[in-house]
Every structure is written in structure tokens, then in C-alpha cells.
Amino acid sequence: MTRPGVRALVVGVGGLGCPAAMALARAGVEVLGLCDDDVVERANLHRQILFDDDDVGSPKVEVAERALKRRAPNLEVKLHAHRLLPENAIELVGQYDVVLEGSDNFATKFLAADACALAGIPVVHASAVRWIGTVMAVGTAGRPCYRCLFEDVPVGDAPNCAAAGVMGPVVGMVAAIQVDLALALVAGEPVAGEVVTIDGRVDEVRRRSLRARAGCCLCGGQSSRIRQINPDAYASPAYTG
């Protein structure tokens, strides 16, 4: 099935972003944006399936574009060789119909959540550490949102991929579900608020429907909720991946 006219942005071209981008390209999206400022490292290769040994040291977005164009010559790939940052987030996500956020740090996750909510762009968040993964779909209405699930940035003891590692097959599973949910959102399917957790060690997939929190600081009804991107809110050391 093709997806003519669909513009999708992949934030983080890593273990999740590579298979997600490949699936989107094969699904026939018209424009695929790739946002990442990193270069390919040898340690990436077991899970970042668009890259090969010869690509080590090259910018991820450039290598990914070549790999995707080989598979989908008609695909328009837009490169954003920088991080999603407070100063560019809303403008960037606003260029797309749907965002697939698979970054490796909490700063980007919360920033993507905030920017997409403020811009009215649906977003599917995905994460994977070791054997587990989590995927969450947020619709155009932005409610329920990522901050309904995780209220604020973890501090101290939250695991991340760099410290804990991740299994290559697990990110493939997680990315597949992320793309499914993204395409479902674009198609108008009622998947907003779906939270999927995956335990790759026992191949268990659980799906729950998240309810919006009345007191959510992003999508709740209180006057103090987030109404603009505050750069200082993402500057904490805890936000770096």
C-alpha cells in the first residue's frame, strides 16, 4: 500500500530510526525527513541496519539517504543534519504530517512531545533499552500525550541505551510497531493514546490505552500548562543522552 502525499519526520536515525525509515520508504511515503547530527560508529552497526562498515565516520543522515534511495528511488528525502532543538523544534515538526521520535535521550523526547503538541502534529514516541521497548502514539489533538505517561524528565537512575545497551532485534520490533502506529494515525485510525510495551526476551507484546491526565502539564486544562517551548527546560544535564 502506498502513502502518497504523506510527509513523515524521523527524529533520531539510530537503531529505531533506521528500520523505521526503511519501512516508511517501502510504505510509499512521499517525503521522509531525517533529523540527526551524529556520525556512524562501529558500535552502531549491529542494530542500525541502514549502515555498513564503510559508513563508519560518515554523517548518519547522508548515509541513510543513499541507502533509502536505493530502495525507493522516488522517495524525497529531506536531511536535517542537526539535533531537534528548542529553537528549531516547532518549525521543523510543522513541516510534516507525522513525527516518529526514536531518539536516545530524554531531552529530545520531551522536546518532541512538547513541540508536536504545540504544533498540532501527531507523534509516535519509541524507546528501547536492553530487551524492552515502549511505543506511544499521540494524535493531532495531543491528548493524551507523552507527559500524561511520563510526567517529567527522569533524573538519576533512569536507564538509557548508551549505558545499558540494546538488543538489535528488539529495536526492529519496536520500530515496526512505531511505523504501524504512525501510518495508522495518518490514516485516521483510532490509535491515539495506544501504549505498546515489548519484552523481547519472551517476545511479549502488551497494548494498553492511555487515558489523559487532568493535571497534565502539556495537555491538561490548567492555566499553567506548557504553551511555548522554554529552552531552559531542556538544558538540564539530565536531559543529555
Partner: protein, 90 residues
């Protein structure tokens, strides 16, 4: 009453690698307290002085305890608790 608690990978270092443990209690808090006795350090990873940490979700069955009675949520026979922490990685 004994309840099954599903432990996510990042917390399994505290349960000797077990992905599922059992604990006794009539409420979620009592189960967590019992878990702490068996697996020291687990409670601190789930709770702070205000209650459930802001980057952790605890479910009874398929329901987030925030939409039940929080840590006071009562458990019935056959209930299963699962923990979904915030993770970043890929």
C-alpha cells in the same frame, strides 16, 4: 494475598534477573513494601517522598494506578502488577 509483579529489564538487577516475582499485600503500597524486604532498593526506584516517581508507571492489570486509587489501590485475587519505566534509547 500473593500478587505477581512483572519486573522490567532495567530493574531486574534488583531481583536477581527475575522478570516476575511475587509479593504479599492487600494494596499496591503493601506489595511494594513487601518487595523491598525481598529485593532491597526496588522501592526507591519506584517511589519518592511524593509517591510513584514521575517517570514510572505502575499498572494493576491494564489500568494505571493513577486512575485507580494510586498506592492505595486494593488488589484482588489474580491481579497482576506491571511496571513501565521511562526509557530513552534506540
Amino acid at each position: 494475598m500473593e500478587t505477581i509483579v512483572r519486573i522490567p529489564t532495567p530493574l531486574r538487577t534488583l531481583t536477581g534477573g527475575a522478570d516476575e516475582v511475587t509479593a504479599i499485600g492487600g494494596t499496591v503500597r503493601e506489595v511494594i513494601d513487601d518487595l523491598e524486604g525481598k529485593h532491597p532498593g526496588l522501592r526507591e526506584r519506584l517511589l519518592d517522598e511524593k509517591g510513584v516517581r514521575r517517570f514510572v508507571n505502575i499498572y494493576v492489570g491494564e489500568e494505571d494506578i493513577r486512575f485507580l486509587e494510586g498506592l492505595k489501590t486494593t488488589l484482588k485475587s489474580g491481579d497482576q502488577i506491571s511496571i513501565v519505566p521511562a526509557i530513552a534509547g534506540g
